[in-house]
């Protein structure tokens, strides 16, 4: 098995350091930004790091096409393999691919219970022992507190770490509230354990922790998204 522990250099290690060990099992984390800043790449990077550690990931997507997501994984894998000068990259690739399942749902009218039921079926009947669930493309504007509570309960019961992306759309009003929390998430703050926002600043994207469990949030992280690869990198 090709387990590579998160090295000290790993930018995700920094992410964990600044959020009291990361979201952890039973927790919900959200990565929020306007469209096109790099949320999906970021989530796929987080998922790929988990896969490198030998931890299975379920990637739930509301996008219309599965091949699009697979391409993201391929690109990010290639980039990481290149950066780490991985030998026998293909063998590693084939092995970690077995630990990833993509579950795609058509958003219209798809109820939270149904999504969770299918994810649970994958874990129990498919014997897919996921520790991390990535949820990309979920529409928080349509989410009720009840929906989020169901995700939260599911995370606790199944001991999963769930990572969401939240797209912030211009509505005319402010995008963020006084604490820096995206307004679309304000109502759900209690259900969320970690909230990180991405901000485009000229040609770089900075990451800001706006909620960190019950601790005061760390604010801007010494991390950025590499504009070329969209990978999370240390701020130089």
């Amino acid at each position: 098995m090709v387990k590579t522990p998160l090295t000290k250099r790993s930018p995700l290690r920094i992410l964990e350091d600044y959020t009291h060990g990361g979201p952890g099992p039973g927790s919900i984390a959200v990565l929020a930004s306007p469209k096109g800043v790099g949320k999906t790449a970021c989530l796929v990077h987080i998922a790929t790091e988990k896969l490198f550690q030998g931890k299975p990931v379920i990637h739930v997507s509301y996008a219309s096409r599965v091949d699009y997501i697979i391409t993201w994984y391929e690109d990010i894998f290639k980039e990481i393999a290149r950066q780490r000068r991985l030998r026998s990259a293909m063998a590693v690739h084939d092995e970690i691919i077995r630990k990833r399942v993509i579950m795609n749902f058509k958003q219209d009218g798809m109820r939270t219970e149904q999504v969770l039921r299918s994810v649970e079926a994958m874990i129990t009947f498919g014997k897919f022992s996921a520790e991390t669930v990535i949820v990309d493309g979920y529409d928080f504007a349509l989410a009720t507190t009840d929906d989020l509570r169901k995700f939260k309960d599911f995370a606790s019961r199944m001991e999963l770490e769930i990572w969401f992306s939240a797209s912030l759309r211009e509505t005319g009003g402010p995008l963020f509230d006084a604490d820096g929390t995206p307004c679309v998430l304000s109502a759900h703050r209690d259900e969320l354990d970690v909230v990180i926002t991405l901000h485009a600043r000229g040609d770089r994207v900075e990451l800001r922790v706006v909620k960190d469990h019950d601790h005061p949030a760390a604010g801007i992280l010494p991390l950025r998204l590499d504009p070329k690869t969209l990978l999370i990198a240390r701020d130089k």
Binding site: V66, I70, I97, R98, V101, I102, M103, N104, F105, K106, D108, G109, M110, Q114, V115, S118, A121, M122, T124, F125, G126, K127, F128
Partner: protein
């Protein structure tokens, strides 16, 4: 020659027992091509015209795709028989490829059944516009309104009734045409007299209500109709035009009603085919340009352009091989010269015919969009014929290697004689079906893409060729390969009296990422004479045919010769071949050999309620789930599963999901067999050797 807008190429798709064959017969009858209809169940021993293969009737599935020509209301209609089974991928693909539209037949009692869902999904996959026919309105419990609702709920069709029934069950007499607002009843012994009359008083309210629904649905596709509705100037022509547009865009499904068995409503359905399904010019077709590196080229349904034809079906008739073709571009006539872009062979069109099941009619020419059959053309099913100057392929040239094999043995001399003919025919029809005689066991081996694939051919040998065979257990086509570089230095020496033999080869073998075998000679200075180098290569090639682990071919090997030695007198072709064989045997184990197995790309579809069962079946079969896609009612699971684990999967899946899930599989790649399984295989192979 019929103009393009008066041509229709259609298929009839249905769940078993919804009356597809009876409907086809009635269509042929009303088009005056046959004069007597038979009941499908075969009381008179004649049976239906379309399903001329007994096997199909027995299994309730249609395997071949005969095309039948009829004419109706000044239009030429080609009816292509479509296989309703998912396993014959190539067969399904070819017949769906030549369709421009389809009739989805449903039972007025059973409604949308599991196989309706299957065939509908196939049609959807190939973007085939469809109209629905709710058959068996004479049966107890018939409810076409419920069936329309199911089309909407279960198949997500925007289904709209074009008719309402005049009476149901025993009292079913005809239909009300909601476009013309007339009552149609069918009289005479075969229902051949269509009587147009006023709508019965008691149906008027229902008819008006349903017509409003029809107008609502149709107006979305025509602004003219919308305006006409507001101004109350709706004409039948406007409605038809709007429904036609919606149908061709696959956004509307017009629903027709009747009872083929009781001769009700079939003529109105034929009118519907002509009115609403597209003509060949309204459908986009693409070919692959073999010159320009496989880029897609759009074909234009224009008879004056250079011809492009697809041979989609071969049949053995009393007059030799019959090749069914669809013309996508240009036109052909007697004497037209074309070439087969797969084989490179030139052909000249001789006899050109139109087929009516087992009957035929000679024609002088055929143009773009048409379907016809040729005599005396040597080709395989799926071949493309082009006018000189074009080099296109209608179907993918890539044919996967067979992944499963079966030993067959004729039961008697008679069967043996007929078997060769059958095998030859099947191999021509289906490029994924192969056959050879094993040099060691002298058994005839047939190879194909799956269990059912070979089963069907074994049945066909018996039914069509009267060749009965016994079969062995299906065998997965394993491969062996190496994972490490290893060096050899081998001397083959026999110099004890008589003519001696001497040859020495030095070099190494290493894994080859792509391809089966590569031979490289790096010897400098004639340590092995040039003449004997091919002997070495030949030796290596021969030994690779049967790996030492389990006796399957070894692939992915590069042999590099770096040095050697020879003897002036005793070295020979045979000696160096033997040296190569010895060298490989010496080094193979050192190169860390492994067993590879075919990994299939499996796609399972079923209702979401069964998602868990589907996940479990994949997991139990050493499979990897790649993705699942859910749309609220259905889930599709894509997975990679070793072929050896897929035997009997259809039965398991059917019983776990009450027949509501289906799957397809195709070869994906060769993958490494896990150690415990490999040990088991090696043990079996050793036992087999005795």
């Amino acid at each position: 020659m019929t103009t393009i807008d008066r041509m229709r190429n259609i298929g009839i798709s249905a769940h078993i027992d919804s009356g597809k064959t009876t409907l086809t017969e009635r269509i042929l009858f009303y088009c005056k091509k046959i004069h007597k209809t038979h009941e499908v169940k075969g009381k008179d021993g004649v049976g239906a015209t379309m399903d001329h293969m007994d096997l199909e009737r027995e299994r309730g599935i249609t395997i071949t795709s005969a095309a039948t020509y009829v004419s109706w209301a000044g239009h030429s209609v080609n009816i292509i028989d479509t296989p309703g089974h998912v396993d014959f991928t190539i067969e399904v693909e070819r017949s769906l490829r030549v369709l421009d539209g389809a009739i989805l037949v449903l039972c007025a009692v059973g409604g949308v059944q599991s196989q309706t869902i299957t065939v509908d999904r196939q049609l959807r996959r190939y973007n085939v516009p469809r109209i629905a026919f709710v058959n068996k309105c004479d049966r107890v419990g018939a409810n076409p309104f419920k069936v329309r609702d199911q089309l909407e709920e279960k198949l997500k069709h925007n289904a709209v009734l074009m008719q309402v029934p005049i009476g149901l069950e025993d009292g079913h007499r005809g239909v009300v045409d909601l476009v013309e607002m007339k009552a149609l009843t069918f009289e005479g012994p075969g229902g051949e007299n269509v009587r147009v009359g006023e709508i019965p008083e008691d149906l008027l309210a229902e008819a008006r209500k349903r017509r409003d629904e029809l107008l609502d649905a149709a107006s979305l596709f025509s602004d003219e109709l919308t305006v006409a509705i507001l101004e109350e100037k709706v004409t039948a022509g406007l409605i038809r035009e709007a429904v036609r547009r919606g149908t061709i865009a696959r956004k509307l499904t017009p629903v027709f009603l009747g009872s083929a068995y009781k001769n009700k409503g079939v003529q109105a359905l034929l009118d519907g085919i002509v009115a609403y399904l597209p003509h060949p010019g309204e459908v986009e077709n693409e070919a692959v340009d073999l010159e320009a590196g496989g880029t897609a080229v759009k074909l234009v349904t224009d008879p004056s352009l250079p011809a492009v034809l697809l041979a989609f079906k071969l049949e053995d008739g009393p007059f030799g091989q019959l090749t069914y073709i669809r013309i996508y571009q240009g036109h052909i006539e007697k004497g037209t010269e074309l070439w087969n872009t797969r084989s490179g062979q030139k052909i000249k069109i001789g006899r050109l015919v139109r087929m009516h099941a087992d009957d035929m009619e000679d024609i002088a020419e055929a143009g773009a969009g048409d379907i016809a059959a040729l005599f005396g053309v040597e080709c395989a099913s799926g071949d493309t014929f082009c006018a000189p100057g074009l080099n296109l392929a209608m179907t993918s040239i890539y044919v996967p290697e067979p992944v499963i094999s079966l030993a067959i043995k004729p039961v008697d001399q008679r069967s043996l004689d007929r078997l060769a003919k059958a095998l030859n025919r099947f191999a021509k029809e289906d490029p994924t079906f192969r056959t050879h005689v094993d040099p060691e066991s002298h058994e005839t081996i047939i190879q194909g893409m799956g269990e059912l694939h070979l089963d069907v051919y074994v049945e066909r040998m018996k039914r069509e060729y009267d060749a009965e065979v016994e079969t062995g257990a299906p065998q997965v086509a394993y491969r062996e390969s190496i994972t490490a570089r290893a060096e050899f230095d081998y001397v083959h020496k026999k110099q004890t009296g008589g003519a001696g033999q001497f040859g020495r080869v030095i070099g190494y073998i290493e894994p080859l990422a792509e391809g089966a075998f590569e031979f490289k000679n790096e010897i400098k200075g004639g340590r092995i004479p040039r003449d004997f180098i091919p002997s070495c290569e030949k030796g290596f090639r021969s030994v690779l045919k049967k790996g030492e682990l389990i006796g399957f071919p070894v692939i992915g090997v590069r042999v590099v010769l770096t040095d050697g030695a020879y003897h002036e007198v005793d070295s020979s072709d045979a000696a160096f071949q033997a040296a190569a064989v010895g060298a490989f045997r010496q080094v193979y184990r050192k190169a860390k050999p492994q067993i590879l197995e075919p990994i299939m790309k499996v796609s399972v579809e079923g209702p979401v309620d069964f998602a868990g069962n589907i996940f479990a079946t994949i997991n139990q079969r050493r499979g990897t789930i790649v993705s699942s896609v859910e749309d609220g009612t259905f889930t599709r699971v894509d997975a990679e599963v070793p072929l050896s684990e897929m035997f009997g999967y259809s039965t398991v899946l059917r019983s776990l999901t009450q027949g509501k899930a289906e799957f397809t599989m195709e070869f994906l790649r060769y993958g490494r067999v896990p150690a415990p399984v490999a040990e088991e295989l090696a043990k079996t192979a050793a036992a087999g050797k005795g």
